[in-house]
């Protein structure tokens, strides 16, 4: 059973790695990397669930009778786009945070926020 569903182990390990990185790392770039790992694990889950053993690409042709399910694959095209957009936006925030605070370490930023009242420009 374990051998037959090894992709779920990969998904679970990747997902928890990503979540751990997001929670444990103080560096904002590393957090984004963790977030990406987390998203990719879900994408892998979808892609693997569409695979039918012995199936081919879902194009009707002579000699082929078993096809993979294209729906999850198509859904993931959208999810990948969402992931790219999220990463781009997150990175742009990090750039501006670096401009405003001079650091991308979360604890240093927090320390600076405690000093100021928050009304500074």
């Amino acid at each position: 059973m374990t051998a037959g569903h090894y992709q779920y182990w990969i998904v679970a390990v990747l997902m928890m790695t990503g979540l751990y990185v997001v929670i444990s790392k103080g560096n904002m770039i590393k957090k984004i990397i963790g977030l990406n790992l987390f998203q990719v694990s879900v994408i892998l889950l979808y892609v693997s669930m569409g695979k039918v053993e012995g199936g081919t690409a879902p194009i009707v042709a002579e000699g082929f009778e078993v096809y993979s399910n294209p729906v999850p694959h198509v859904l993931m095209l959208t999810a990948i786009v969402v992931g790219v957009a999220t990463t781009a936006l997150a990175l742009s925030f990090v750039v501006r945070i670096h401009e405003a605070y001079g650091t991308v370490e979360e604890d240093e930023v927090l320390a600076m926020e405690d000093d100021s009242t928050g009304s500074d420009a």
Binding site: L45, V71, P72, V82, A90, V94, I97, G118
Partner: protein, 494 residues
């Protein structure tokens, strides 16, 4: 007019208006575009709600003419027609008011970006509300979230950036959890259409995949609706975003996330599975009660008006989830009316806060001494909104809390009914703190001159505060619709 086409218009109007704003760039023209788009969306939502209530049937639109369950379906029934009305109504009022006050916080050159992002955010929220396709919910959720992050980052303080970043990380985790839950549902059933899913999920209570899907969906939605203790992103995001953005997001984003949770629990999984088999109420009810108390207590001790209102939002979300966790017709109706109450009232209060920030130049409560006499209209709206937040009779807040208390008693949970009343007392405390400072204390002698806030903002705050009063008296429009929606949901899910 053919009502069958209207659900698509809810998405199409703001989606097309957003690039128009970017293309035209002129601040005034972009504003006009946004105003026209939001008010016409509101008109569509009104027609839809009337149609649904008159015919008693859902309006179904098949995208591209492909019939469900294989094609994507947009479906509007009494529940989401009501949510559509709230989202479009608040957007229309806030966007109309935002022209002048926006100039305080954003340079004129950035106005078009604000309006484009607002319209995109609205597209996402309305899309999440109208769609009957589970995967569409995720896509629209991300559209609304991404534009919300960028809107929050437009705040004047540099802390807006870190707040937006934090919200982005939490929000993406939540969105991905929802995506995972939808994937597991698809795995178990092979369908993405919500009605079709509900049919196929019957008798699958013992299926581990479906149980896991429920767990991930509830977790993801709870992050997006800021259910205690997953609310940490909310106070900073609301406190440092431009005031107009807060007024809009506080009233719409978390509410639509709540709607998504309701839709999945009652419209897809069904009460038998979610509550009788999985006992979700045992998780949601304590968290809801904890939110009502802990966030209210934190709100009492805030020195900044914005953060006080933000924590009060977390507490109010607790009431909505509490209504849901009763898993009864009455409880659900209470949650839905409270959704309306909180959307209208909190938006109004944040608009007052925006006006105060312009007038006094500060939102620290101690700087508001004697402001009541110098900005009577503004603080008058605050008092009305505060009363509705507490749940005083003749306001819509009373209607929602009354239904919630009745639902608690109906379920035989009288301690919960007592807790609802006790937590309302906490709301009295934090609203009174501001009212006392504003109306009963003399202004400081060295207090700077008060600037006149833009009339648009004060008008908008009063429009929403008046709505809280009107619908508190004419309860058919709120409690009546909410009861119908709840009855329909309970019929579907049993």
């Amino acid at each position: 007019m053919n009502a069958a086409q209207l659900p698509a218009l809810q998405i199409v109007i703001p989606l097309l208006a957003a690039p128009v704003c970017v293309a035209l760039r002129q601040p005034r023209v972009a504003w006009l575009t946004a105003v026209v788009a939001t008010w016409s969306s509101l008109a569509v939502a009104v027609v839809l709600l009337q149609h649904v209530l008159a015919t008693g049937e859902a309006v179904s639109y098949h995208l591209g003419g492909h019939a469900p369950p294989h094609g994507i379906e947009l479906r509007v029934d009494a529940l989401n027609a009501f949510v559509l009305l709230i989202v479009t109504g608040i957007s229309a009022v806030v966007v109309s008011a935002s022209r002048k006050s926006l100039s305080e916080e954003l340079s004129e050159k950035q106005h078009y970006l604000y309006f484009a992002a607002t319209l995109l955010c609205m597209t996402g929220l309305l899309g999440m509300t109208v769609t009957a396709d589970a995967f569409n919910v995720f896509v629209f959720l991300e559209i609304s979230s991404l534009s919300a992050y960028s809107l929050i980052s437009m705040g004047r303080s540099r802390r807006a950036l870190t707040a937006a970043y934090q919200y982005l990380v939490m929000g993406t985790l939540g969105g991905t959890f929802i995506l995972l839950g939808i994937g597991l549902l698809y795995m178990a059933t092979g369908s993405l259409n919500m009605a079709d899913l509900a049919v196929r999920l019957q008798g699958m209570e013992a299926n581990r995949t479906v149980q896991t899907a429920l767990a991930f969906l509830v977790l993801g939605a709870s992050i997006k609706l800021a259910l205690f203790p997953l609310h940490v992103w909310l106070p900073n995001a609301y406190a440092f975003a431009p005031a107009m953005v807060t007024a809009l997001l506080a009233a719409t984003a978390t509410k639509v996330a709540f709607y998504v949770l309701v839709r999945f629990l009652f419209g897809v999984f069904g009460t038998d599975f979610a509550f009788d088999a999985m006992h979700l109420d045992r998780v949601l009810m304590p968290l809801a009660l904890a939110a009502m108390f802990s966030a209210s207590i934190v709100a009492v001790f805030q020195r900044d008006l914005r953060r006080m209102l933000a924590f009060s939002s977390v507490a109010q979300i607790g009431y909505m989830v509490l209504g849901l966790s009763f898993a009864s017709e009455l409880g659900l109706a209470g949650g839905i009316v409270h959704l309306f109450n909180h959307a209208v009232v909190k938006s109004s209060l944040f608009l007052v806060m925006a006006a105060v920030a312009i007038g006094v130049g500060s939102t620290q409560i101690e700087d508001l001494r004697g402001i009541g006499r110098r900005m009577p209209w503004c603080m008058g709206a605050f008092v009305v909104g505060g009363l509705s937040l507490i749940g005083v009779p003749l306001t819509v807040g009373f209607v929602s809390k009354w239904i919630l208390v009745r639902a608690a008693l109906e379920a035989g949970l009288w301690p919960v009914a007592v807790l609802i009343l006790l937590s309302s007392l906490l709301a009295v405390v934090y609203v009174w703190r501001v009212v006392e400072v504003a109306w009963f204390e003399a202004p400081a002698e060295d207090a700077p001159q008060v600037r006149r806030p833009p009339a648009g903002v004060v008008c908008a705050a009063w429009t929403l505060a008046a709505a809280a009063l009107v619908f508190g008296v004419f309860t058919d429009a709120t409690a009546g619709v909410a009861l119908r929606a709840a009855r329909m949901l309970m019929e579907v899910s049993s």
